[in-house]
Symmetry: C2
Subunit: 304 residues, 2 copies
């Protein structure tokens, strides 16, 4: 196992201008794992309820994802309901039911505890910290995501966690909220002062900007003809980003740059259909082709 | 003269989080001309009042800008007052005084009428059309800008004008307003259906996206440490964009891509100080260096 991810596994109710789904497989760890599975071997830590569909476990396993850390508990799977009606970039959360996630205590087997790459997807930072502390040794690279809720109600523990990771992946508005800095490069500098070497500020349809040690890198979003469902775009980005880094087993500037485009590539697929419908059915050549489309979207000749 | 520009020459009152200026030289044609002057020979068509400071004419002429089409009329120079307090991307217009621009009738001498590149900066589309019609022959390339006001009150003539240009440079929100399409690629397609071969959608701190014949190109904004005054960023972009195209005298895909980065380069300088304070004092090596910073901001290696 090259990457371990902890995060939500969920059934989502989603409404977008393209339509409505009552209950589709989702959750940050799910999007992350499926996305990263195209690059490397992934293991998941999480919990599902007794309503969880065995076909969904099979889908994950068909991507060589190690689901042995995915505990089945009595009760219902985590549920999120949201809509993107006014602004395709911003989900309005209608309801969140933690269900089995309320009492979840992560347990790591030996394979999980020794994963060299660790992604702490958006979830209670106390839980993120528990997983980090449960690792057998400090992974080669740890990254995390978070959200406005945790900045509101758990900022001290979140700040402690961020001080211990190598990279924070965070939405633009949340970067501003976390740091109190409106101007993006200031927010990125403030994050890097907390501890990480790098931060990826996710900007929805505007792409993502990576701030590293002495460099910054602008990854555009792909100007897709049709965006169907933005749910999971950020987690799919994270999966491509971390998946690429784990596959080359390097976290230097050059790898981080390519990883950001690998992330953008996976995010661009994720939004093309509802839930995981697009990213669960990709081929290596789909990914190569879309990555090349990013080359074409960004290439230019020098001044003459 | 390689490029002719028609547009406003103004004194602006501007307030931004960085400070306040009561009366600074501005106007779309001014920013455009100074920006383009680093790439090629520029001529201006416009009108100023009898309050116009001769030192400002001298500054323009020191950039080899042909100001013979800049008429001096009785009355006051065009005045715009605006502020960027809540959102650095969006100017709130506090006041506009057309003054001498109210009765302006453009007259083109032979050099102006034969310019091979023409930029119709944001101004009444009736005036843009008059200048286009006054050209001795159809220029090699014509581009225009516009704003929400003209979409509101003069859409038929604006649409006629757009049908006759090669490229429309327009802000994201105005592209949506003009076309009724929320999704950017749809808005770009709708603009191209009106007539132009290309459109540049300007997205403030998110950069600009160029949509051309069978390709799109994402030009990021430079993540500057400090944005002082966004006034004129779009016109400075247009100046770098058109200035580069005129300097290489080509309007193919490769030139358009490089031109978009030349535009982004000039826009990044424009916002670093109030008014024209930064872009009027650049050297060729400042521009080369910033252009290379854009290369560094966007370069990445292929997937391995």
């Amino acid at each position: 196992m090259k990457i371990l991810v902890v995060g939500s596994v969920a059934y989502d109710a989603v409404e977008t201008p393209a339509g409505k789904r009552e209950s589709q497989l989702g959750g940050a760890a799910t999007y992350f794992s499926v996305s990263a599975s195209y690059f490397t071997e992934v293991g998941m830590i999480g919990v599902v309820g007794d309503d969880f569909d065995p076909a969904d476990i099979e889908m994950l396993q068909s991507h060589n994802i190690d689901t042995s850390g995915l505990v089945k508990a009595e009760g219902k799977t985590f549920r999120w309901s949201g809509e993107y009606m006014e602004d395709i970039n911003t989900a309005v959360t209608l309801d969140t039911q933690l269900n089995v996630f309320g009492d979840f205590e992560p347990e790591l087997d030996e394979a999980c505890a020794n994963a060299p790459y660790l992604f702490l997807a958006n979830i209670d930072p106390n839980l993120q910290l528990k997983v980090l502390n449960a690792m057998a040794k400090r992974p080669k690279m740890v990254a995390n995501d978070t959200m406005n809720l945790w900045i509101d109600i758990a900022k001290p523990v979140l700040t402690e966690l961020i001080s211990r990771v190598d990279a924070l992946l965070i939405n633009e508005d949340e970067a501003r909220q976390l740091t109190g800095e409106d101007h993006l490069p200031d927010a990125a500098n403030a994050i890097i002062k907390l501890g990480p070497n790098a931060t990826v500020i996710k900007r929805g349809e505007y792409g993502a900007t990576l701030f590293g040690d002495g460099f910054s890198f602008a990854a555009p979003a792909y100007p897709l003809e049709r965006v169907v469902d933005p749910t999971g775009a950020g987690d799919s980005f994270a999966g491509g980003f971390m998946g690429y880094l784990a596959s080359v087993d390097k976290v230097d500037e050059e790898s981080l740059r390519t990883a950001a485009i690998a992330g953008s590539t996976m995010a661009s697929f994720a939004v093309e259909d509802f839930g995981l419908d697009r990213i669960k059915n990709l081929t290596k050549s789909d990914i190569d082709e879309r990555f090349k489309a990013f080359v074409d979207l960004t290439r230019f000749n020098p001044l003459t």
